[in-house]
Amino acid sequence: MVIPEIELKRLGSEYAEKYGFRDPEQYVFKARKGLDREVVEQISWIKNEPDWMREFRLRALEYFQRRPMPTWGADLSELNFDEIVYYIKPTERQGSSWEELPEHIRRTFDRLGIPEAERKFLAGVGAQYESEVVYHSLREELKRLGVIFVDMDTAVREYPDLVKQYFGTIIPPNDNKFAALNSAVWSGGSFVYVPEGVRVEVPLQAYFRINAENVGQFERTLIIVEPGAYVHYVEGCTAPIYSAASLHSAVVEIIVKEGARCRYTTIQNWSKNVYNLVTKRAAAYRDATMEWVDGNLGSKVTMKYPAVWLMEPGARGEVLSVAFAGDGQHQDAGGKMVHVAPYTSSQIISKSISKGTGRASYRGLVKVHRGAHHVRANVVCDALLLDEHSRTDTYPYMEIEEEQVSIGHEATVSKVAEEQLFYLQSRGLSEAEAMSMIVNGFIEPITKELPLEYAVELNRLIALEMEGSVG
């Protein structure tokens, strides 16, 4: 795939202009700061949830309170749970047309180009603003085929059996501190169900927007892909720039059944005050394929290691991860592959770029359970440093309990070569253009996997990051 050339020159705007704007706070309900039983009960009450969900939340809250902060990975010491608002209801009800939304919210999504993208190349869109999904749509023909794409709260009400069967089974509430937090206060997110044999050829997209200061967003996504089905789900996320920290802590659970395939693409571009602590995990059954394509550009701190549990022979897992850590950012990203069954295969390709004081770390795990013979697993992590101060680390964990396996691992660290910059500049490219081009080339193995529009978006975001970087 050839990505159309981008006129880097025209990109005069910065994050602040394009994504960093904020709306006045006009809410139907805003919880008080801090987290306790009362806040959780309140969320559940406002959502008018069944008892089992309320109990699920309260149990999770206990797990959350009991668990210590993780001490590995990124520095979370500045994250103050008492300063965060855990739930904001922005509108009275959800719209199925953009016109139904309050003016300021509609304008926000317009500026972010979501309605336009929907018209052009998406099969369905969910748009979340603060804690609730304010807009949802799915093409009629997909509805007729039995595809379900609704927000998670609606799913709890309208598809209780399906939700109850799978919710919290892939990532139990006590999995880790942030999964517990999400399980206690989750709101919004997507529920996707693709019936047997149905192929959703155009992507479904969810867009997450935080607007208020000091707020947490805790969406919860559950995707079920029945045998032989296919779906590509894409999420994008942005927020205004505040000095106080915001928190985004999502849980994404995916079940990919026999012969099915699911691809989950993220372009994370949070503003640089957001802690992005996300748990994503999929279970892939016989001959199923799960692919995580993960682009992390924004946030102050990201800790995210999309995982695939390869449950039955023939299952295949893939993580393609790009992380860009600019000044003051720490991207701690990677992937996990857990080979439970024999004859399963996995691949993790991670490309990280560190600029200025930015730090990008690869953290990954390949685990092969006893009895999972004839496993093939491959890990490639390449780091690119843009200048003297930038930093990268690699933590490639391997836990192999079986002998008859084939495991590959390669890691490279490189600097942007002066010779490359000079070569491109000697052809008339400015230093920033040359940098962007080298970086885009570096991540090309991943961008070529993206739908064109997202590839262009990713390259454009990198060009934006690069503008400030050269003097």
Partner: protein, 261 residues
């Protein structure tokens, strides 16, 4: 005497790298419509001169000037020089993984075109593709070349062709070809030389760095210079190249030593 600014002039250029002086007083004047050849033994400083002309940031200039259209360009970054119409075909072109020729070339062509001919002179994707196809044909290169990654895995000859392809698209007024002939097979040398000749016009000038007489049979210089130890030791007409081919550099060295002593 008709006082006219030459297209390109080097005045008493002393330059080096990491404190090591390599160019030790180079003087050269090149007028529009001229082709100059620069020869000289390995390590004498030919590529260094080419890099300094193009503005490689690692080279230090201790003294002297490089005038392009009368302006001293030594303070300008390489991209500005390129946008003024200077071009260097590299002896060892650099690979840029993941960047396709087409993407790179379009950005390069348009930044140079906008600077030289005006903001509105950028090519649309369609116009660019047409131009690219035309130049590829001229150099007998496969169209699929455009979707390959820049210089990555290119054979020696392919790299050299790709350099001339870039020259064809960027339409420089002054181009330095650093050993473009080495690595080309006999047919490729002819194709590439034909290409260069077709690009050449009386408003531009060329400096052709080479070790061999052969390319000069196709791209015919009016002047031949021999660099020895960071200086232009001898200059002459095309016959000088033939003489060198016959006698080797020792002959120049001894003559230069005599002249210097």
């Amino acid at each position: 005497m008709a006082e006219q600014t030459p297209l390109f002039a080097i005045e008493n250029l002393r330059a080096g790298i990491e404190g090591k002086e390599i160019l030790r007083g180079v003087n050269l004047v090149i007028e529009r419509g001229e082709i100059h050849a620069l020869m000289g033994p390995n390590g004498s400083g030919k590529s260094t001169l080419a890099y300094v002309i193009a503005g490689h940031p690692n080279y230090e200039v201790y003294e002297g000037r490089i005038l392009y259209k009368g302006e001293n360009i030594l303070e300008l970054p390489p991209d500005e020089r390129a946008r003024m119409g200077l071009f260097l075909a590299f002896q060892y072109p650099t690979a840029i993984p993941g960047v396709t020729m087409a993407n790179f070339l379009r950005l390069a062509v348009n930044s140079v075109r906008k600077a030289r001919y005006g903001e509105d002179k950028a090519l649309s994707p369609r116009e660019f593709r047409r131009l690219l196809r035309e130049k590829l044909q001229m150099l007998r290169m496969e169209e699929s070349f455009a979707s390959r990654y820049l210089n990555e895995g290119f054979s020696g000859g392919e790299k050299k062709r790709a350099e001339i392809l870039q020259m064809a698209l960027l339409e420089p007024e002054f181009a330095v070809l650093d050993e473009t002939d080495s690595g080309l097979d006999i047919d490729a040398l002819r194709t590439v030389s034909d290409g260069v000749n077709r690009l050449f016009n009386p408003t531009m000038a060329l400096l052709v760095i080479t070790h061999y007489q052969r390319i000069l049979n196709y791209i015919r210089p009016q002047f031949v210079h021999v660099m020895l130890d960071g200086k232009i030791a001898v200059s002459g007409g095309p016959e000088l190249a033939e003489e060198l081919e016959e006698k080797g550099y020792d002959w120049v060295k001894s003559r230069f030593a005599e002249a210097a002593s």
